[in-house]
Chain length 213, copies 2
Amino acid sequence: MGIVRCHISVSVDGYAAGPSQSSEHPLGEGGERLHDWAINLDRWRQAHGKEGGETNASSAVMDEAIAGVGAGIMGRNMFGGGPGAWPEDPSWDGWWGEEPPFHVPVFVLTHHEREPLEMAGGTKFHFMTGGVESAVAKAKDAAGDQDVTVAGGADTINQTLRAGLLDELELHVTPVILGGGERLLDDVGDVRLEVARAVEAPGVTHIKYRVMR
Amino acid sequence: MGIVRCHISVSVDGYAAGPSQSSEHPLGEGGERLHDWAINLDRWRQAHGKEGGETNASSAVMDEAIAGVGAGIMGRNMFGGGPGAWPEDPSWDGWWGEEPPFHVPVFVLTHHEREPLEMAGGTKFHFMTGGVESAVAKAKDAAGDQDVTVAGGADTINQTLRAGLLDELELHVTPVILGGGERLLDDVGDVRLEVARAVEAPGVTHIKYRVMR
C-alpha cells in the first residue's frame, strides 16, 4: 500500500498562491515567483517535454517527488475552474493542455458532475463530488501499491490534512513574500508533524514532514 | 559597521507565538514548543547559565546567532509588558530575571517613558518612545562595529522589515502548527529576500535570508 503525500512550493509567509487569482493569473499576483527555483531545472523541463536545464540539489528532490506516484488529487480550480473556464464553459478541458504532465489518473474535487476526461499521455481526470475522503479512497484504489499525491491548491491540501488523510508533506520554501493569497496549513486542526529531512538548494529549501497519528 | 539581524523560531504556519498570550503563557498556547529544538542544546544551556546539553547541527547556528552582537532591540511585551506586569506594575523589571541572557544594551520599543534599567551581567534596558527608526539608530550607535539583533516579538520584527531596517533574517522553522497567534512577516510591504543558507538539524530547519534593497 502506498502513502498519500504532497509536495508544494510556498512563500516564506505561508502562501501557496498570491492574491487576486484569475484565469490570467492562476497563481495570483506574484505567485509565479514560487516556481522560480524549479523552471530551469532539468527535471522540470523533462516533465514538461523540454530538453536541457540545470542540475542541482533540487533535481534529486524532484525525482523523489515524481517517483512511484500512481494517482493524483486536485481541487477544481487547479484543474481549470474559475470565471470563463469550467464549469461556466463545459467544453473547457483544464489548464494543462492536451498532454498534462501527470500521466496517471487524477481525481478532481468538485461540486459539479462530469464524465471522466481522458487526455493524451495517460492522464485521466475523474470528477469527484463526494468529498475529500471518497476522492482519496478512489485515488488509493487507482494507485495500488504506488503513492497518491495531493497536487493542490492550498484548500485541497488543507482539507486532506484536516481529515487526517495525508501521510507526508513536503514544502519547497521559497524566499518570496506574497503578503496575501491562499494560505497553506490554515484551519487544519490539531495536526502534529515531524521533520523527515531538509535539503538546501539554490533559491529554495526543501523540508519534508511526516504527519504523525 | 555591523548589520541589523534577527533570529527567530517560527511555526511551520508562520507564527512566532501561539494564540492567547498572557503573563502565564508569554509565548501563547503551544508556543513553548517553538523552542523544543533549542532547550536541550549545549549552547542554549550555556547562555542560560546551565551546564551539559546536546551538541548537534544547531549548535553552530546558535554560535553564529550569538557571536558579534553589540546591542539588541525588543518590543515592550518581550521585555515584560502586559496585564499585571509593566507599566501596570512600575517596579516590574521584565521577564528575564536579575541577569538577563543578553549581556549588551537592549533598546525596548514602548510608548511609556522609563529611566534606563541596569541588570547584572551587562544587560542594560533602554526604553525608546520615538519609534523603530530611532531605536535602531541608537542600537547601531551602541553596537559600534558589532551587529544589532532584533529579538522580537513578531510585531517588532515586522516593523523593522517594513521600515527597511533589517539586513538579515534567520528563521528556525519548527515542525509545529499553531493555528493562530503572532504572525511573522505580516503586512511588511514589498520586501525581497534571498536565501543565504539552510541547515538541516534535529527537529528544526534553519534558513537564513538576506534582505535585498
